[in-house]
């Protein structure tokens, strides 16, 4: 009886094989192959196995490092802001919590590109913030102190702007898993700790913090992975010159330098790095499930 019903999943299994497994396998194949002109006269091309793509990646080490650096910084900032918010939210009453959750999730229903676009008009050289700074005389003040001759603070098209964009977009993904873990903590554990003599600080350090780690790990994963692979945020807020891994990959598929093999190789490396991070997280964390289900 039971095994017959498990066949219900068969259509999906086929779907997964077709649209999840095969594409990834193809990507792996592309990463390890190259099209080479076999015959100089006819221009005939053939596919050969090669590790060349990975070698080519070496030229882009700067990009790799930059992407990781920015992703780590964004994750750290999200953690610094997100943990306290999650903790404070968990202490509030159910009414507040419901509203707060809705408020945090609401921006996610507006498209992520729109949210990033919003920051452009704020950070631009003639954008809102700069106009504000000019109006209150901050720019003149800085010019006076530093002896410079700025018309505006260059905020857009900087690494800082990209970090800001990442934090803005991914902060909810840090807050929600941490919140969902802390709010489910058994209150009697806290009472027991107090009963045994622990004051507020100790209760937090010894009980709440360790028990909230699964949520923290979930949050870190949910922020780091999109942060390290983004290309829209870096394009919109970082300008054309700030290249991250995502931009690099995009160029291989859509830009003028069409090289799906190189692009696949970089994607493969990224996927492997992410899988390693996930494996480490899964050993200690609660996994994405909790975060998504909330």
């Amino acid at each position: 009886m039971k095994s017959k019903r498990s066949l219900l999943a068969t259509p999906y299994v086929i779907w997964m094989a077709l649209f999840t497994v095969i594409p990834i396998l193809m990507m792996v194949v592309y990463a390890f192959t190259q099209e080479i002109v076999v015959d100089a006269e006819t221009g005939e091309k053939a596919v050969r196995f090669t590790l060349n793509n990975f070698a080519q990646m070496g030229a882009y080490t700067v990009v790799f490092l930059r992407s990781f650096k920015l992703a780590l910084v964004s994750t750290a900032v999200c953690l610094l802001i997100g943990y306290p918010v999650a903790y404070l939210m968990a202490k509030e009453g159910p009414q507040f919590q419901k509203i707060a959750m809705a408020l945090i999730m609401l921006p996610m229903w507006m498209n992520f590109l729109l949210r990033t676009y919003a920051w452009m008009s704020i950070l631009e050289n003639t954008g809102l913030l700069n106009r504000l700074f000019k109006a209150i005389g901050l720019i003149d003040l800085v010019n006076h102190i530093m002896g410079t001759n700025l018309q505006f603070f260059p905020m857009i098209n900087t690494q800082g702007a990209v970090v800001l964009g990442m934090v803005y977009n991914y902060l909810p993904f840090m807050i929600l898993p941490i919140y969902s873990v802390i709010v489910k903590l058994d209150n009697s554990l806290l009472e027991a700790a107090q009963d045994l003599g622990a004051g507020s600080s100790r209760v937090f350090r010894k009980i709440i913090l360790p028990l909230s780690l699964p949520g923290v790990l979930s949050g870190i994963t949910m922020v780091f992975v999109p942060a390290v692979s983004t290309f829209a945020i870096s394009r919109l807020l970082g300008g054309n010159n700030l290249m991250l891994l995502g931009n690099l990959i995009e160029m291989q598929f859509v830009g003028t330098a069409y090289n799906p093999h190189l692009g696949s190789a970089i994607s493969l490396v990224m996927m492997v790095v992410v899988v390693i991070c996930m494996a480490v997280m899964n050993r200690f964390g609660e996994g994405e499930e909790q975060a998504v289900i909330l």
């Binding site: 058994d186 009697s188 554990l189 009472e191 027991a192 700790a193 107090q194 009963d195 045994l196 003599g197 622990a198 004051g199 100790r202 010894k206 009980i207 360790p210 028990l211």
Partner: protein, 391 residues
């Protein structure tokens, strides 16, 4: 008699409109085993939590050793709690759970900070593991323990801090019967050996009677009676206590004079007095205090409606003038027989009427239950053939 250690003076606890504790006045003595007993919602757990510091009374005072401690947070009280669901820290092993309280530096009366060394901690934890019989379990993780073992870790974790008072919130509820009985003995033994005041909360009256020095019966936020187990059992103050503790037949009666009470228009001798002449009273007669005698020798006559074999005794439901009694006896009287009963004067206990009078009725529902159980073997196809005698 030892000194008074804890005092709740006129404590009331109200949440919005709901009054959970109604003007409670309770005194707990040093080194005694006191149990708060009552049905769900009677306020016993709230009382416990007030003593522990997890709730502050809406009005009234909580005194510890004569000092008012209403505002003192739990981590500053020399009181420890064993929680109902144990509340063991899931991320720490057995050793660290027990050592948790010991690792916290305490300040003594002079304001000096005391910190225990690692050796001292180790010694105390090992000692406590010995007391609760969990030697060798130090490195185990909480999830690997059975219910009974978790229970003992919870007790060890609380006791290792040598508190003056231990609060226990229905700690044995999740254990099976045999384990529960063993733990009851264990707890009593520990309490007497360590000379700590235990304040115990339960709804199981057998448990309360077995373990306590003092029993406090509560209902609806009020204390119904305080006394030793024997007092509570033999001399309940009102119908609620009589009904809650053990089985009892509660009958309307009239007090004719000191030592003479009238039920079913017959007078009985009893040991109680101090009532107004002809005052309406509740009369309690325990099922085991009723002797079955031949019809002509009995003070009352009745018909047996049910007999159920309970192992230790028979439960017999007898109909006296429309009122069904429960009698527990080792003599078998068959269903339908007419019997007489005799009750010794000390088997009759008279109580003043209270708001609980008339609430508990007779044993007709038991009677129906027993009928159904015995009818379960009855084949409906034979119904037409049986000539029933309805009397």
């Amino acid at each position: 008699m030892s000194k008074e250690l804890i005092r709740l003076a006129n404590c009331t606890m109200a949440f919005d409109d709901e009054v959970v504790l109604d003007n409670i006045d309770l005194s707990i003595r040093d080194k005694e085993f006191l149990t708060l007993l009552g049905p769900s919602g009677c306020g016993k757990t709230t009382t416990l939590r007030i003593i522990g510091g997890f709730q502050t009374p809406t009005s009234g005072d909580l005194l510890f050793d004569g000092v008012r401690i209403n505002a003192v947070p739990p981590y500053k009280r020399t009181i420890n709690t064993v929680f109902q669901k144990y509340a063991l820290f899931p991320h720490l092993n057995v050793y660290e759970n027990i050592a948790f309280g010991l690792r916290i530096p305490k300040t003594d009366e002079k304001g000096k900070k005391l910190k225990l060394t690692e050796e001292e901690i180790d010694q105390r934890v090992t000692e406590m593991l010995e007391v609760v019989n969990l030697r060798g379990f130090e490195k185990r993780h909480i999830s690997q323990l059975s219910g009974g073992q978790q229970q003992r870790v919870a007790i060890a974790r609380a006791l290792v801090n040598r508190p003056k008072v231990l609060l226990l919130d229905e700690p044995l509820g999740a254990l099976d019967l045999k384990l529960r009985k063993d733990m009851q003995n264990e707890l009593k033994r520990i309490q007497q050996a360590m000379e700590i005041t235990f304040v115990y909360v339960t709804h199981d009256q057998e448990e309360a009677l077995a373990m306590s020095d003092t029993v406090v019966v509560m209902d609806k936020g009020k204390i119904q009676q305080i006394g030793s187990p024997e007092d509570i059992y033999n001399e309940p103050k009102n119908a609620f206590v009589a009904d809650f503790i053990g089985e009892s037949n509660i009958i309307d009666g009239i007090m004719r004079a000191d030592g003479v009470v009238e039920i079913f228009n017959r007078r009985f001798q009893c040991l109680d007095g101090g009532f107004a002449p002809d005052e309406a009273v509740d009369v309690v007669i325990r099922p085991e205090d009723v002797d079955i005698v031949p019809v002509d020798q009995g003070q009352l006559k009745g018909t047996v409606t049910n007999v159920t074999f309970k192992g230790m005794q028979y439960d017999i439901i007898v109909d006296f003038y429309g009122f069904k009694w429960l009698i527990q006896t080792t003599d078998l009287s068959p269903v339908g027989s007419l019997i007489g009963i005799k009750i010794d004067p000390d088997g009759i206990h008279v109580m003043k009427k209270s708001e609980y009078s008339g609430m508990f009725g007779d044993y007709s529902s038991y009677s129906e239950e027993y009928e159904e159980i015995s009818d379960a073997t009855f084949d409906p196809e034979d119904a037409d053939q049986e000539g029933g005698d309805e009397e």
